[in-house]
């Protein structure tokens, strides 16, 4: 199921502004890779280039290559819709569809892609909600609107929605930044379980979180405000947090930054 991502020479632009410059890295399958770095350094932008969501923003443009098991996402003839089915995404703020019930939210990706068989949908919805550790909390209220759940439950609902379409890779853009510590713990546990099946990339501002959940960590930085963000280094999480090879990484992690 999980796939390897090979990025080489990737730059992303917003109109004339270059947001990230010449990034190359490898994301291993069935592992968690964390992106850390100061605000505005292009972590989220880079994440969004991995499933071609960057070009949804007006003026968004990408140069370079992203290989998903040897297939270039930015090659000619590649359908961005097919890319997004393969590479799922969870956003910073929980965003369940307000017009849909909990069941319909999880089934949304499948239904909108053309699966309509009742029994099949029911099985997948249950499996996904169990996968997101939400089933026990919502199994009696599947017909209620998703916006009635708490913030942490909504975020797990969004994760269930993302894994229901069985992607190969799951991108998470600060999935816990709007949540309390207990919901955060629930989601971190979930990430640990999900990495058995998916390749996971997570952007976080919380360095303890990166240390807790990830196998590898990438540190991004920018030279100055207005300059494009760059990848400083990527290594085993343990190495990054104990003995990074670049001084800037150590400064950032130990709080001596800026």
């Amino acid at each position: 199921m999980a796939k390897r991502i090979d990025v080489s020479g990737l730059s992303a632009y917003y109109g004339g502004h270059k947001a990230i410059d010449d990034i190359s890295m490898t994301v291993e399958p069935r592992s968690v890779t964390a992106f850390i770095g100061p605000s505005g350094c292009g972590k989220s932008t880079f994440l969004r280039t991995l499933n071609r969501m960057h070009e949804v923003t007006p003026g968004g443009r990408v140069e370079g290559k992203v290989l998903l098991d040897d297939e270039n996402l930015y090659g000619s003839g590649v359908d961005p819709v097919a890319v997004r089915r393969t590479v799922g995404m969870v956003f910073q703020r929980p965003n369940p569809f307000p017009t849909m019930s909990i069941f319909d939210n999880v089934a949304a990706g499948l239904r909108l892609n053309g699966t309509h068989k009742k029994n099949e949908l029911k099985d997948i919805v249950e499996k996904s909600l169990r996968g997101a550790n939400l089933w026990n909390e919502v199994k009696d209220r599947l017909g209620k609107p998703g916006s009635g759940l708490s913030g942490g439950q909504q975020q797990r609902l969004c994760i269930a929605r993302a894994i229901a379409v069985e992607p190969q890779v799951l991108l998470m853009d600060e999935p816990c930044s709007a949540l309390d510590p207990i919901s955060t713990l629930a989601i971190e546990d979930l990430i640990g379980e999900l990495k058995e099946r998916f390749t996971i990339v997570i952007v976080t501002h919380n360095m303890q979180q990166a240390a807790r959940v990830s196998d590898r960590t990438a540190f991004f930085n920018l030279a100055a405000v207005g300059q494009p963000g760059k990848l400083v280094e990527i290594d085993e999480t343990e190495r990054i947090f104990s003995n990074p090879s670049v001084q800037a990484t150590e400064d950032y992690i130990s709080g001596r930054f800026g």
């Binding site: 097919a82 890319v83 997004r84 965003n95 017009t99 949304a108 909108l112 892609n113 009635g148 379409v165």
Partner: protein, 362 residues
């Protein structure tokens, strides 16, 4: 506390030297004061008007309003202080503005109901004018109701889909010059006087293409008036849909057109329906294009594509023009039916908006 513990610190003093107020409480006027003042000023206004021999009731009202504003301000300034007095002044101005806005509306409704119910009955609603001479009592508006329903329905069938699609284009796809041009022309269309829209269809459809007058010709002019309203309101509603929902759907691998159809439109359908309903309400009362293009028949014509028809606003206009007592009565009753029709449309729109609003229930 201070008599138990000896506090040796100096009292907090304002930089200017005046001590801070000891208490946070202050004198307040009783709750019923504004109401009582309003009653007193109304009575005084009437009294002064009567004694002074002023004929115009508007003068009475103005005197009462001025007394009310001045009285509240003076009383509040005396009892509560300057800031509260200003607050009360603003509040009373808002109330008077509210009354000024409500009085014409209420009197219009009162007048229409009082005069419009004289001949309004089942017969009036189910018969046309036929060959009845205008000066005689009798006759009805059945042909006008049929005409209005058909013309407005056809206009909606033309304008609502076009307007909806234009708005979807502008919000979801429109970038660059074409979108700007479309927005500009929608703005221009919003300002077209209804008589000009009527003249345009008259010159193209009847004078150049040679068709006769018909309900459909009227519908086309009404559609021109309705379309920009639909585009504008739909555009605003679509812009209210959070971008995060679009992105969530796109990130699930849903194509853009399906995202619009299944996520964006359902989220905003309540507001869009309200907008369309209000646009319908607006064109229902249009008289000028109907006068030019539908001509106004006296008999029932159920076919909107052939021959002259009638419509409610045009019927009111024509009956008023006749100038007999019987036709005045008919005009008022038809006006009442027209107001009721528009009001029902508005209520339906509100109902749909509430029914379709995104649910937040737990």
């Amino acid at each position: 506390m201070s008599d138990v513990m000896t506090d040796r610190r100096p009292r907090a003093e304002h930089p200017g030297g005046t001590p801070l107020p000891v208490s946070l409480r202050q004198a307040r006027l009783p709750r019923w004061t504004p109401a009582a003042l309003a009653l007193v000023s109304a009575a005084l206004g009437t009294g002064i008007g009567l004694v002074g021999g002023l004929d115009s009731r508007i003068q009475w009202g103005l005197i009462a309003a001025l007394l009310f504003i001045g009285g509240t301000f003076a009383l509040a300034a005396g009892v509560e202080g300057a800031r509260q007095a200003k607050d009360r002044l603003a509040t009373s101005l808002v109330w008077i503005a509210f009354l000024l806005a409500v009085v014409p509306l209420a009197s219009l409704l009162w007048e229409t109901v009082a005069r419009g119910t004289t001949v309004l009955d089942g017969f009036f609603l189910s018969h046309s004018m036929g060959t009845l001479p205008d000066a005689l009592p009798g006759g009805g508006i059945y042909h006008a109701i049929i005409g209005t329903l058909e013309q407005v329905g056809l206009a909606t069938l033309i304008a609502a889909p076009l307007g909806l699609l234009t708005a979807v284009y502008l919000v979801e796809y429109g970038r660059g010059r074409l979108a700007k041009v479309v927005t500009f022309f929608v703005d221009v269309m919003t300002g077209i006087p209804s008589i000009v829209a009527g003249l345009f269809i008259l010159s193209v459809w009847i004078l150049i293409l040679g068709f006769g007058p018909s309900g459909f010709a009227g519908s086309m002019a009404l559609a021109i008036l309705m379309m920009p309203v639909v585009v504008r309101s739909t555009e605003e509603m679509l812009k209210l849909v959070p971008n995060e929902l679009r992105e969530a759907s796109l990130a699930l691998g849903v194509p853009k057109w399906r995202t619009i159809l299944k996520v964006v439109l359902p989220t905003s359908i309540g507001g869009i329906t309200t907008g369309v309903m209000l646009a319908i309400a607006r064109i229902t009362g249009e008289t000028a294009p109907v006068l030019l293009l539908v001509w106004g028949a006296k008999t029932i014509n159920g076919n909107p594509f052939e021959g002259a028809q009638q419509s409610l606003p045009l019927y009111v206009f024509q009956q008023w023009q006749q100038g007999s007592d019987a036709s005045y009565d008919r005009a008022w009753s038809a006006a009442l039916v027209l107001i009721a029709f528009v009001m029902i449309l508005n209520l339906v729109a509100r109902g749909i908006a509430r029914w379709k609003a995104p649910k937040t229930g737990r």
